[in-house]
């Protein structure tokens, strides 16, 4: 799947801004705060929306074409079904709407329901399903025509921990078979269990793509927050401010202070030298944002 300089406006508001992104086999996490443009990007990927600028292609075909849609399975975030149908009827209907004859549709429905753990529970009407069961049905209909690309909008939302583990295993299995999965979430912690390859969206743009480590490296120029507990916090704060990479120090309660520094590796080298030289008693050292969430927060420009 290829996004080429894609922009999408909702009237005066820009939903996706000049996005260029290529997705290949494996799992890509799409992460961003609410309103960052994740769902718009996914709806462009599934051909529901047309870009105002640029083009979205699936194996060379425009995403809005039927040929492209045949290669894409979509699990939307929206939790609406034909509520009078049973889970099995719904998945079978979606299969037949992919053009399969009845017998084949039944066979595929049975298999995919088993795959998502709904084989024995798909007979009641959808309106009585729990959130987790509905998520499973949504995933089943996305998988049923065996697409190459799976676009999953918040697929783990509402699933219990056991179910999550099953889903994560299933996603890994699909990725292992060469499928391309795009999984969106606003919780990086959730995505970290699934993949280390993420695309971070902020204000309609792809702010960063790559593994978390690669992104981290790209962020060397971004401030990093570190909490330090020391016997002489005020004196330490003064010394820290003299270091080249420190951009700010905030005194906390009692013996704690929070230092914000650029270029983490160079800062830690300098900090270690300072502590040894001045014989500070450092009781606790913690990087507050050396996590994927912090990367996201930095990229979004949020203050911590």
């Amino acid at each position: 799947m290829l996004f080429e300089h894609v922009s999408k406006w909702y009237g005066p508001v820009i939903g996706v801004n000049e996005v260029t992104l290529e997705l290949r086999s494996g799992i890509t996490g799409l992460v961003g705060a609410n309103g960052a443009g994740k769902s718009t990007l996914l709806r462009l990927a599934t051909g529901q929306l047309r870009p105002d600028l640029g083009v979205v292609r699936v194996r060379g075909q425009h995403a809005t074409t039927a040929a492209a849609k045949r290669r894409v399975g979509y699990c939307p975030e929206v939790d609406r079904f034909y509520e009078d149908m049973s889970g099995r009827q719904f998945v079978e209907a979606m299969t037949r709407l992919c053009g399969y004859p009845r017998g084949e549709a039944r066979r595929r429905t049975g298999e995919v329901l088993e795959l998502v753990g709904m084989a024995g529970r798909a007979e009641p009407r959808l309106r009585g399903y729990s959130k987790g069961m509905r998520q499973r049905i949504k995933l089943a209909q996305a998988l049923v025509h065996d697409p190459e690309l799976l676009v999953l909008d918040e697929p783990l939302s509402g699933i219990d921990p056991v179910g999550r583990a099953e889903f994560v295993a299933l996603f890994h299995e699909l990725a292992r078979r060469g499928k391309c999965l795009v999984v969106s979430s606003h919780e990086l912690e959730e995505l970290e269990k699934l993949t280390d390859h993420v695309a971070i969206m902020a204000r309609g743009r792809i702010a960063a793509v790559g593994t978390l480590a690669q992104i981290r490296e790209l962020l060397d120029d971004q401030p990093l927050s570190i909490r330090v507990n020391s016997d002489q916090p005020r004196k330490l704060a003064g010394d820290l401010l003299r270091l080249e990479d420190v951009v700010g120090v905030e005194l906390g309660t009692e013996d704690a202070l929070v230092v914000r520094a650029r270029n983490p590796r160079r800062f830690f080298r300098a900090f270690t030298g300072l502590v040894l030289e001045e014989a500070y008693d450092v009781r606790h050292l913690e990087t507050l944002d050396d996590s994927a969430e912090a990367i996201l927060s930095y990229l979004l420009g949020a203050r911590r």
Binding site: Y74, P76, V78, Y82, P101, L115
Partner: protein, 347 residues
């Protein structure tokens, strides 16, 4: 899918091969001829949409309620023998608060009171008088179709029930999917959007036709002989009117989120106002052409516009061709609109 790629032992994708095994691969392994077919999916979408219509919604129940009320009203009129001009007053008012005589009273007066006995006794004069009276009475006896047409078919059925019944189904075809946010399931299937639009239209037509033609048949059935004759004459107009109105309201469903409200406003304001405008303005109204088909069919029975020189009806063939042509145009426009519209409210 199953014939386009496979993954080798190292996880490398190879083009032009088949997927060997595994849960996902099983889904791609056909047991028999399972090649997806666009025609098959379109036919299934028609069937699927028809089933959705079977789950009657509020508007459809309202339509059925209106049918019951209309049938009851017609039945009462039939029981009281009201399908005749005998009860019409001509002139309507003699003076302020003094209604004119009914046609039956006037005829009775002509026969009994107003002929001088000397004239009445004359055999040729009596014969002419009898002939005039008998022809007037015969005209009165056969006025049932005109009265039923004007009182029920044109003023109630065509102006009110037919549009309401059509919009009950036609606006729901896409409107219900949009309101229920279930349109996303159709838009992400590998079906071209014009085909979805057309399938939805084809699926709604049987329901709408059962409602309009069936309802019209029921109303006519309880009206006695004028009803039976009216159904025989008017059913083609009802059929084509339904097809054209449904195409229009289906287009509204593609254009507006609250299509039923827009369609009701259109029916009761634009159709009514334009349909009763003198001159050529009314020719943009679907109801006008439906009515013209009816006038053409029943012209031999004296059914015509109140003031033909003002109403300016077109002949039946022209009206029918216009209805068919408008249906085709509305469907084509609808397909374009549905294809180009990006429904941001569905997912």
């Amino acid at each position: 899918m199953s014939t386009e790629q496979r993954i080798d032992e190292r996880g490398v994708r190879i083009e032009g091969e088949t997927i060997p095994s595994g849960p996902s691969a099983r889904l791609g392994a056909p047991a028999h001829d399972s090649t997806p077919s666009v025609w098959r999916m379109w036919c299934y979408l028609v069937w699927f949409s028809m089933q959705q219509h079977a789950r009657a919604r509020q508007m459809v129940w309202m339509a059925r309620g209106l049918l019951i009320i209309t049938v009851a009203t017609v039945a009462v009129n039939t029981a009281n023998g009201r399908w005749t001009m005998a009860y019409r007053r001509e002139p309507r008012w003699l003076a302020v608060n003094v209604p004119g005589p009914t046609i039956a009273e006037s005829l009775h007066g002509v026969r009994v009171a107003e002929i001088p006995p000397a004239v009445l006794g004359s055999t040729p004069a009596a014969g002419v008088h009898e002939a005039i009276w008998a022809s007037a009475q015969a005209a009165l006896d056969h006025s049932g179709l005109v009265v039923f047409s004007q009182g029920i078919v044109f003023s109630v059925f065509l102006s009110f029930l037919l549009p309401i019944w059509c919009l009950s189904f036609a606006t729901e075809a896409l409107g219900a999917e949009r309101e229920g946010s279930s349109l996303v399931w159709l838009l992400t299937r590998p079906i071209p959007r014009p085909a979805i639009y057309l399938a939805k239209y084809v699926a709604l037509l049987p329901w709408a036709l059962v409602q309009t033609l069936g309802g019209f048949a029921l109303i006519c059935a309880v009206a006695g002989w004028p009803g039976a004759l009216a159904f025989r004459l008017y059913w083609p107009a009802v059929l084509w009117g339904t097809i054209a109105f449904c195409a229009l309201y289906h287009l509204m469903g593609a254009c507006f989120r609250r299509a039923a409200i827009v369609a009701i406003c259109y029916s009761f304001f634009l159709e009514t106002i334009l349909g009763n405008m003198p001159g050529y303005m009314k020719r943009v109204s679907l109801g006008f052409y439906t009515r013209c088909v009816m006038f053409d069919a029943a012209g031999q029975y004296g059914v015509q516009p109140e003031k033909p020189s003002v109403y300016l009806p077109v002949d039946g063939t022209t009206a029918l061709l216009v209805l068919i042509g408008l249906t085709v145009v509305l469907l084509a426009v609808g397909m374009v609109v549905f294809t180009r519209t990006q429904y941001q409210d569905v997912a």
